[in-house]
Amino acid sequence: MDVREKLNILADAAKYDVSCSSSGSNRSTPKGGLGNGCQAGVCHTWAADGRCISLLKVLMSNACKYDCAYCVNRRSNDIPRATFTPKELIDLTLEFYRRNYIEGLFLSSAVVGSPDATMERLVRVAKELRTVHKFGGYIHLKSIPGASASLLHEAGLYADRSSVNIEIPSDQALQYLAPEKNHASIYKPMNYLAERKLEYNAGGNFSRYSPRFLPAGQSTQMIVGASGETDYQILTLSNGFYKQQQMKRVYFSGYVPINADKRLPVITTKPPLVREHRLYQADWLMRYYKFEYNEILDEQHPNLDLELDPKVGWALRHPEFFPIDIQTADYEMLLRVPGIGVKSAKLIASGRRYGKIRLDSLKKMGVVLKRAKYFIYHPDTPASLRRLYPEMVRPLLIQQAKPVQLDLFNDQPLLLSAS
């Protein structure tokens, strides 16, 4: 089988992993070598489904010995199997990189032989890229559940980011759908890497020559809609990942039925794209808008509103804070106004020191006044009208909401919108 055929099989098999970020690493070009890292990440192209592509995302092998119900590579599927040799992968990465197709490599693998044997191959590719070829581009290595600590440690020295996917949000459902896995086997590498990273950082020696450990941290992914968890459970879990494991990103992947399996939703089920989109919006609120997870949802409201984005949802549940005066409100409060994004909040905060912000300049800044107007007031607004009536505003906002676009895969905080 030639490399091209392998690439077709192993890229196709890797596409359900949604992680795409290449950010968080500012590695400089090794002397005499090739490539560097960009703190903000660089998207190189977008797939036909609108997801950013910045890395050569492939599996080392898809010949899995496990049999996870939701996975296309499980051993009971009758599909062509392929395995890259380290050299094939290294050459492909370097050639793609030189043509500026990619920002680096995302290497994952099915479990072949044993977890350690698999992990060892992944590490070998990264190590050779770094040491033999002096490659400074981005490397994301998957941690294989069950791999030994020494291999994980070595991975951390060569990779920029590592991830191990939790896949199914509750342990019970995971054991049911993936009999060879459980949450403990996933948390173990995660916690190990988080601790190691802390240790390295605690050294306090940030010279560019000191060894670095996973400069871009860890990420994980969970499948949404394959098992019965609520959005509140999912956000609680993500919050834990951000706080306890210092996770850089948590990805959600709306379940795309691949296998006919009686443990899973029927194969004709449409992927829950709107729900996935709302979860990303909620995640944005936590990471860029300083919301706590339990402000977005709680036990009484365990699921996200599919009609309105979570920021609007929060605002409508808290009429006591609105409308606000944009000349004086705290920056944190500006961020909470539906229709105002991070960029415009910053502009408002810096501009108002020198004079009044007019409605018309808000529009020019890109504030979506159609939405924001219910939540802000102007000095000319009579005091008696400075009240928010959620029951009147809600239908108006829903009316405006156009069909949802899935555009939250980039790493930039976008304007949260109901459209």
Binding site: L7, G33, G35, A48, R99, T268, Y354, I357, M365, D407
Partner: protein, 289 residues
């Protein structure tokens, strides 16, 4: 009222502003000479200002003194937008800045004159940022990596720093064929270059197997169930497709794209990709119900 023309360079524009102040000119319009031949206002008197590096330098210093380095950089970025009428917007800003009425004026990004400039600069910077990912190199016979781009804004020189540190050990060139100039890195430094016939540079190159594999990869990575042409066009505007191998096929064929690479299927008809299995499964399931 004068309609002032200049040589379309940033220094040229600064020289214009300098002359406006020095000679107390009354300006109706400022036109870069690349617009030559397009209609001009008949009631305005044409006036040519020669670029003078010395006046440009003096004006730059004045801008930094009255505001900051950042503002000078902002103006340079805005100028690259080549948006029609942008010179008059910049002049309005400079007039307000030099009037000295408000000594914080240069710091306020939300003032009436600065906000439009600020927003233009953002789109220019965005394109320069995106272009770092969308440059596609081809390997020439002599080993130089060559890329052709046609950006909306005049940003090719803004890419120099990024690619110089990334491909420090290689020779490469990025060429803006719309403006007919580009940058070339010879392994030590970056220089501006221009070639008489761009087509000749890449003519006669053998087919590149790496490029074919990149196209394969691109097709394999997309998820059929999620295809979203509208979103794709927003993330990756059609005007860039021409120079992206993965998108160079005509847009029409892509929209109802067959998501399995036809070449690959033809050469090995017996191979079923994992995603074929998913498709077959879902068909079987529908028949069963």
């Amino acid at each position: 009222m004068l309609s002032i023309s200049y040589d379309s360079t940033f220094d040229g524009f600064l020289s214009v502003v300098f002359e406006i102040y020095r000679q107390r000119l009354s300006v109706g319009d400022i036109r870069p000479d690349r617009l030559e031949g397009t209609s001009e206002d008949l009631f305005m008197q044409p006036f040519w200002v020669e670029t003078n590096p010395d006046s440009a330098r003096r004006l730059k210093r004045a801008i930094v003194n009255a505001a900051s380095e950042d503002v000078l950089y902002l103006l340079d970025t805005v100028f690259r937008s080549e948006e029609s009428g942008v010179e008059m917007k910049m002049l309005a800003f400079l007039r307000k800045l030099f009037s000295g009425i408000d000594k914080n004026y240069g710091k306020n990004p939300t003032s009436e004159e600065m906000l439009p400039l600020y927003m233009i600069a953002q789109s220019v910077r965005r394109e320069a940022g995106d272009m770092r990912g969308m440059v596609r190199f081809t390997k020439l016979e002599d080993g130089t990596y060559f890329a052709e781009i046609e950006p909306k804004y005049d940003i090719v020189t803004l890419l120099a720093g990024h690619f110089r540190s990334r491909f420090a050990n290689e020779r490469w060139a990025i060429y803006d064929s719309r403006r007919n100039y580009g940058i070339y890195y010879d392994g030590c430094g970056v220089m501006e270059v221009s070639v008489p016939d761009i087509k000749e540079v890449t003519a006669g190159l053998p087919p590149d197997s790496i490029k074919e594999m990149w196209k394969d990869f691109y097709k394999a990575i997309s998820i059929k169930e999620r295809e979203n042409p509208k979103l794709l066009k927003r993330c990756l505007p059609v005007r860039y497709w021409k120079h992206l191998p993965e998108r160079e096929a005509s847009p029409a064929t892509w929209l109802e794209s067959d998501w399995i690479n036809p070449k690959f299927t033809r050469s090995s008809p017996s191979t079923l990709l994992p995603s074929d299995v998913a498709k077959a499964n879902s068909r079987a399931q529908v028949l069963l119900r």
